[in-house]
């Protein structure tokens, strides 16, 4: 048996390091941003380089409505978190559900756009460089939206069961950071694909 | 030109070390980067000697410090107390920041200058232009203005430093990445599909210069060897004339030629003036003018030629040429035909 003794003074100072939840989420956001950056760089690099097949300006229509939906969902989730912080779980539920609905609408919009591109315009991931980079970049974003919606839905289910209370506001806020990130990425993707690249 | 200390050491010791390492009577390494024979290689050697001098000086200083510290500040057995704790020194930190920054600036300027000299060199009108196309695992050479297509052995004229006649190479690839590296002539430049590159050499001495592919390109990357024959103007012109002629085939179609043209050989190989015009493999019009086959892998002897035709994987396993399943008489006939392609 070994023993050691150490004198430990009581903590006298005020000590407020940052909370681990937001720190971890910001790190995840940084990592995901790096992934998106590479896909955006590839997209930009290949603008105008497709040898054959449909070109962006021939087939892309600016998805204004669905963009408004997604960006508004940032606003709704912000309200949801605010209400949860002040303990108004009912309002939180409403705005949270609205967020999911708006995010879901965005995904439906992407699906409709892709159906048109594939079956009417003949643009697939194999068609040309534009097809490859477009579906990869927009698809990667849509994948992140999907994952976000799954997480949001899980929280919604917990909330409907009555398990989400005011003391969980910080954790819910951490999740909302991810959602804001997804929206911010869409701003970039939208600009690159539908404005610069067209 | 002053003889720098490093150059002196290398000049004296280099051959001694290398001669020690090789069997008696053989030459120094034919691919020694410190034996330049062309301007780009020479510029690189000059820069590298400068860099070596600087880094050697740094090494000597820092190593001396390390050795001193390790010896002088060994723990003395009698010493019980902890030594004086020194936490830092702004002046020292400044000193060993500023001095390295200055060294970096000097090295950077030296390197930048040579980059400009090599990469932005002018393309004079009398330059020889060769298009090099890298394949798995051989080299295709085309002289567009001289109407010559050949493979694996590059012939270029020597360049008189007073009136330079450099050779400019345009580097393309038919499949994966390769790299053209003949150390005595220049640094390496890659051949990348869909990304044409360009380099130049102006060898000052005639002779045979060796090298090999320097970017992993697949199974037989190791045997994608380079042979550059630097010839006098007259020899080069003669070679060009011979290479631009179509194949001298006899009017009677030999058995070997018949097999060659009926089997899949012509799908890959070309023999100018006959029906064979495949581009996947080396052009064979003047096969017997080459010293080696299989991109330098083996000497061009009757026996090697027969082995190669019979089954290339015995000489270069993993190369792209398949064994055609020819019988021995068929192999001999084809070889006899190829041996007429001078």
């Amino acid at each position: 048996m070994s023993a050691s003794s150490v004198t430990i003074p009581e903590a006298e100072i005020r000590w407020n390091p940052p909370a681990r939840g937001p720190v971890g989420m910001y790190c995840l956001i940084a990592a995901e941003s790096a992934i998106f950056t590479i896909f955006v760089v590839a997209y930009i690099f290949y603008i105008g380089k497709s040898l054959t097949g449909p070109q962006p300006k021939d087939v892309l229509e600016v998805p204004v409505f669905y963009t408004v939906c997604l960006l508004s969902s940032s606003l709704t989730i912000h309200f949801a978190v605010k209400f949860l912080r002040s303990g108004k779980v009912g309002f939180f539920l409403f705005w949270w559900f609205l967020t999911i609905a708006l995010g879901g609408t965005f995904l439906v919009g992407t699906a409709l756009e892709w159906r048109h591109l594939i079956y009417v315009d003949g643009l697939t991931i194999q068609t040309n460089l534009f097809g490859t980079t477009y579906y990869s970049l927009v698809g990667l974003h849509a994948f992140h939206v999907t994952v976000g919606l799954l997480a949001l839905t899980a929280v919604l289910l917990f909330a409907l069961l009555g398990d989400v209370k005011q003391q969980h506001a910080e954790r819910v806020e951490v999740l909302s950071l991810y959602w804001h990130f997804v929206d911010a990425v869409w701003v970039v993707v939208f600009t690159v694909v539908y404005i610069i690249g067209r | 030109m002053r003889l720098s200390p490093i150059r002196a050491i290398l000049t004296l010791c280099g051959p001694a070390v290398i001669a020690f390492a090789q069997p008696a009577g053989s030459p120094f390494s034919p691919t020694n980067i410190f034996a330049p024979a062309s301007t780009p290689a020479k510029s690189i050697v000059d820069l590298s000697l400068f860099v070596l001098e600087v880094t050697a000086a740094i090494f000597v200083v820092v190593f001396a410090l390390l050795a001193y510290v390790v010896v002088k500040f060994r723990r003395k057995a009698t010493h019980g107390r902890e030594p004086a704790q020194v936490y830092g020194s702004t002046q020292l930190e400044l000193a060993w920041t500023v001095i390295p920054v200055l060294i970096v600036v000097i090295l950077f300027l030296a390197a930048a200058r040579v980059i400009g000299v090599v990469q932005n060199a002018e393309h004079p009108g009398n330059a020889i232009d060769v298009t090099v196309i890298g394949h798995q695992f051989w080299w295709e050479y085309r002289y567009p203005s001289l109407n010559v297509v050949t493979a694996n052995e590059l012939h270029i004229p020597v360049s008189d430093p007073a009136h330079p006649t450099p050779t400019f190479l345009t580097l393309l690839s038919a499949d994966t990445d390769h790299s053209f590296w003949v150390p005595r002539l220049a640094g390496k430049t890659d051949l990348i599909p869909n990304h044409p590159n360009s380099m130049w050499i102006d060898p000052h001495e005639t002779g045979l210069y060796l090298g090999q592919c320097a970017q992993y390109c697949g199974t037989q990357h190791a045997k994608m060897l380079l042979r550059v024959y630097v010839q006098t103007r007259e020899e080069f012109n003669r070679w060009i004339q011979e290479q631009s002629r179509p194949a001298q085939v006899s009017s009677i179609v030999s058995e070997g030629q018949r097999i060659f043209e009926r089997t899949a050989c012509i799908n890959c190989h070309a023999v100018a003036g006959t029906v064979a015009n495949g581009r996947y493999g080396p052009d064979l019009t003047h096969l017997m003018s080459r010293d080696t086959i299989a991109s330098g892998a083996v000497p061009n002897t009757p026996e090697n030629l027969r082995r190669w035709i019979q089954d290339p994987s015995t000489l270069k396993p993993g190369c792209k040429m398949p064994a055609m399943g020819l019988s021995d008489p068929q192999v001999n006939a084809v070889a006899a035909y190829l041996e007429t392609l001078r």
Binding site: N128 | V69, N194
Partner: protein, 558 residues
């Protein structure tokens, strides 16, 4: 100010639980110390695997036109050797030590996200198994399967379906994709732990250098591993969905793969070497009996290195045909990074200056590190001069340079770290005599192999060739290089036996066998699951120095 004296004891071991239960504890653990040890043991196993692959290659290259293995096998060997050593030996080693040490050194009970920690380890572990499964299950459509053979940086278009049919390349992609997720998870954990869980009083300016260095390393992982993940997803799109990211026939670019890969690849080597600096920064002061010289500058230099390392990547592409302006930029940024790196070497020397140097095994490895890292840095400066790199790039000179860093700097300091922290992790001292034997054997082998490896590069020998021509002057050097391998293998064998034997029979170490100054030495060896009975409060960078020297504590000075 009131204080409490706390005495605690290592828990009395009752009859040890059954083996199955013990194994279950290891498999299901979320304790950072156990995960750290799992990472380290995992790394050691793959270090040996990579070493076997290297030995096979060196035997094949011992003389020209050798026939020890076929070209296909050789090409798989160098691919697997590089991939194994970087992703499944070096990175797990680095993460293992970070996992074990960071919470202890900042006075925390565990990492910020213990379950994420376990998840990350098992992802990394699975990646390694996936890669090695390719030897068995890699057969593809044309029988062109088995282990990947495209080189560890897998240049396009060699990796396309056209040139690499079958599934060997897919194993490479998936193994790294999976373990990359684990790496990012660990990095997130390290950053959150350091930022959020420091004990009271430990401001960022008071944490041990190891914490700063691991913080920087974790930041680099987050920014650098992600581009590799992205590029590998793109490669999968090309290979399986008919995409054209790197399809030169469709107008795609092979060069863009190189950019994406090296944007990962260069910061990756700093991910590996920065923790090596961390080990040196903890060991050298203790064995010189002096505080680290220039702590603030060391932090600043580390952050500079991390920052600049994101801007140097295309020095791996000097021969690719970038313009003179692009080449010149990367020469500049690469040479610039030499400045903060050199500053660190000077600071370590200044730490030793005026000290009382103890030449035990950890310190021997760190002194050798200083010597070898100096040389490696200088050959790096040579390579940074782009025209010189036009000759030396893709040759054995580069291979010698980076092995000088990875083995000579990273592995040497890692060995030092093993010996230094083994008493803390196991509660027992290793055998010092055999530690020194390991050191000398490995030192001799390392120098035989990697000093002489520079020469064939200078004489024109490219890398990744399964054989070479006689008469190029390369023969004798390859022979010497191969001989060194056996000394290194002997050293590693001595090391493994020493650790194994000492774990069971070594002298009991106590909590602070080295008379050191950072928080991990204030708790028992091995620490209890909760690390510290009460979270300590610190007032300086060396809390134990303050306790041992109450008349002259650090916080009087800095």
């Amino acid at each position: 100010m009131s204080t409490e004296s706390i005495t605690w004891a290592t828990p009395q071991a009752a009859t040890p639980p059954p083996l199955v239960e013990q194994l279950h504890h290891w498999v299901a653990t979320v304790d950072h110390k156990r995960l750290g040890i799992l990472y380290i043991l995992y790394a050691l196993v793959f270090l040996v695997a990579g070493g076997v692959e290297a030995t096979i290659m060196r035997i094949q290259l011992i003389r020209p036109h050798n026939h020890f293995v076929s070209p296909e096998v050789f090409n798989r060997m160098f691919t697997m050797h590089g991939t194994t050593m970087i992703f499944f030996a070096a990175m797990p080693l680095v993460f293992g030590f970070a996992n074990y040490l960071v919470p202890l050194m900042i006075g925390a009970r565990d990492m910020a996200f213990p379950r994420l920690n376990a998840f990350s380890f098992w992802m990394t572990a699975f990646g390694g198994l996936l890669l090695y499964f390719s030897f068995v299950g890699g057969d593809g459509l044309y029988g062109a399967g088995s282990a990947p053979d495209v080189g560890w940086f897998a240049y396009a278009p060699l990796t396309s379906q056209t040139f690499s049919p079958g599934h060997s390349t897919d194993f490479w992609i998936l193994a790294l994709l999976v373990s990359g997720i684990g790496s990012v998870g660990t990095a997130i954990n390290i950053i959150a732990t350091i930022l959020s869980l420091r004990c009271p009083g430990m401001t960022l300016g008071k944490m041990p250098l190891l914490a700063w260095l691991n913080l920087t390393m974790a930041g680099l992982v987050i920014l650098a591993v992600s581009p590799l993940t992205a590029a590998q997803v793109m490669l999968l799109v090309d290979r399986f969905l008919g995409g054209h990211f790197f399809d030169t026939q469709a107008g795609g670019s092979a060069v863009i793969w190189m950019h994406f890969f090296w944007v990962f690849g260069h910061p990756e080597v700093y991910v590996l070497v920065i923790p090596a600096f961390a080990f040196a920064s903890e060991i050298i002061p203790v064995f010189s009996r002096k505080a680290i010289f220039g702590y603030p500058i060391m932090v600043a230099a580390t952050l500079c290195i991390g920052f600049i390392s994101m801007s140097v990547w295309a020095h791996h592409m000097f021969t690719v045909g970038m313009s003179a302006a692009e080449n010149t930029f990367f020469v500049f940024s690469t040479m610039a990074i030499a400045v903060p790196t050199g500053i660190k070497i000077f600071n370590w020397l200044a730490t030793m200056w005026g000290g009382q140097i103890h030449f035990q095994t950890p310190m021997l490895f760190c002194i050798a590190f200083l010597f070898q890292f100096l040389i490696a840095g200088l050959t790096g400066v040579m390579l940074s001069a782009a025209p010189f790199d036009w000759q030396l790039g893709s040759s054995y000179f580069v291979v010698a340079h980076f092995h000088y860093v990875i083995v000579g700097a990273i592995l040497f300091t890692s060995f030092g770290a093993f010996y230094y922290w083994f008493p803390k992790m196991s509660g027992r001292m290793y055998n010092e005599k055999f530690g020194k034997l390991h050191f000398w054997l490995f030192l001799i082998g390392f120098h035989l192999t990697f000093d002489f490896m520079h020469i064939p590069g200078l004489l024109g020998m490219p890398r990744r060739i399964y054989t070479y021509e006689p008469g190029r002057g390369w023969d004798i050097w390859n022979l010497i290089v191969t001989i060194g391998v056996f000394f290194q293998a002997a050293g590693v064998l001595v090391f493994a036996c020493n650790l194994f034997w000492s774990y069971f029979r070594g002298q009991v170490a106590g909590s602070d066998p080295w008379d050191a100054w950072t928080l991990e030495w204030s708790t028992t060896s091995p620490p209890p699951a909760y690390n510290f009975a009460a979270l300590p409060e610190v007032k300086s960078r060396r809390p134990l120095w303050d306790l041992k020297h109450p008349e002259d504590p650090d916080w009087h000075y800095e």
